[in-house]
């Protein structure tokens, strides 16, 4: 018998453009409601800021499927936040895994020092790389360089890992850019 976990189908947002749009709207509303919870903003207060009825706010939060860009802009401004539309290629053209949660993009932006432009991002990356060089624990550094256009990156308190898809794995200091990543001062796996 094949375990249920191996009987994978497509993500529900692949059903139709409406389904995909529903998920996009849901993601935005989740962020709005999180902001309201974090800052103790009630629906009535938000309604006053928007100069609309509380019922209209409630209706939008519970039925966001007809969300428009103008509404996104109005609600974001009323809550003192901004919004972005991000298109990305996650290598899942069949949409088996579904959209990536907006929170992931927000977390990446925050962890990069909240860059406002490309220069901020480059500066943050350089600073991050310098910090990592200092923080790297023991190991044999052999000055290898590796580049890749598709990489995963994560770190723990003790190690820094960098895996280029395809099997090449190095530990060390690296820079990420929009065109890929560069590994500097790679460390041989102990």
């Amino acid at each position: 018998m094949v375990p249920a976990a191996e009987q994978q189908d497509q993500h529900w947002t692949e059903e139709s453009s409406d389904a995909f749009a529903h998920r996009l709207a849901f993601d935005f509303i989740a962020q709005i409601e999180q902001r309201m919870d974090d800052h103790s903003i009630s629906q009535s207060l938000l309604a006053r800021k928007l100069k609309i009825s509380e019922g209209a706010v409630s209706k939008l939060l519970n039925n966001p499927q007809n969300l428009t860009l103008r509404t996104i802009a109005k609600y974001s401004r009323a809550l003192g936040i901004k919004a972005a539309i991000v298109a990305y290629d996650d290598g899942d053209s069949q949409n088996k895994a579904g959209p990536i949660a907006s929170e992931v993009f927000t977390a990446c932006w925050e962890r990069s020092g909240r860059p406002h432009d490309a220069w901020d991002l480059d500066a943050a990356q350089s600073q991050h790389a310098a910090t990592m060089t200092v923080a790297l624990p023991y190991g044999i550094y052999y000055g290898a360089w590796a580049t890749g256009s598709n990489c995963d990156y994560w770190n723990s308190p003790w190690t820094v890992h960098h895996t280029v898809h395809g099997g090449l794995s190095t530990h060390g200091t690296f820079f990420h850019s929009s065109t890929g990543c560069t590994t500097v001062g790679a460390r041989a796996d102990a």
Binding site: A4, Q8, A30, N62, G98
Partner: protein, 147 residues
């Protein structure tokens, strides 16, 4: 009692989390899957969006939560949504079904639907706790998420 576990369709799973329905023909109270299948499209999408967020590893107490600080119910879990002004809940439990290959992998097994009035009805969580430790239920969960 004969139990089976089927994945929630269309949301997939990852190496950290998965989600499924418990089914039992003999127990009418185990109705999470029946409820899900009869939801209107809008509500089903709302619920799947919440499940997506949970699978992504994020915390949204407004949409789903457990009771980690309550020893008696620390394995119970709930997904919440509103439909026509009413508060709906799908209650279930958390389980680690892959002790050999992925100990950290966490499955959420949805058990029953409830329309919440005021406070949580803890008799429903007691019922879930009884099922959670049933050997037949454990066997069904392990089969669905086998190592």
């Amino acid at each position: 009692m004969s139990y089976s576990v089927t994945l929630v369709e269309g949301v997939g799973l990852n190496s950290h989390r998965g989600i499924a329905f418990l089914e039992c023909a003999e127990e009418k109270r185990v109705d999470a899957k029946r409820t899900f299948q009869t939801l209107k499209e809008k509500s089903r999408r709302d619920l799947r969006g919440r499940i997506d967020l949970w699978l992504s590893g994020y915390r949204f107490d407004r949409y789903f939560h457990g009771w980690p600080n309550n020893e008696a119910y620390k394995h119970c879990f709930v997904f919440k949504w509103k439909q026509a002004g009413a508060n709906h809940r799908l209650y279930g439990f958390l389980f680690h079904p892959k002790p050999l290959t992925n100990q950290a992998f966490q499955a959420c097994i949805l058990v029953l639907h409830s329309q919440k009035k005021d406070e949580t009805d803890f008799s429903e969580l007691d019922y879930i706790n009884r099922l959670r430790v049933s050997p037949n239920v454990i066997r069904a969960v392990r089969l669905a998420f086998s190592d």
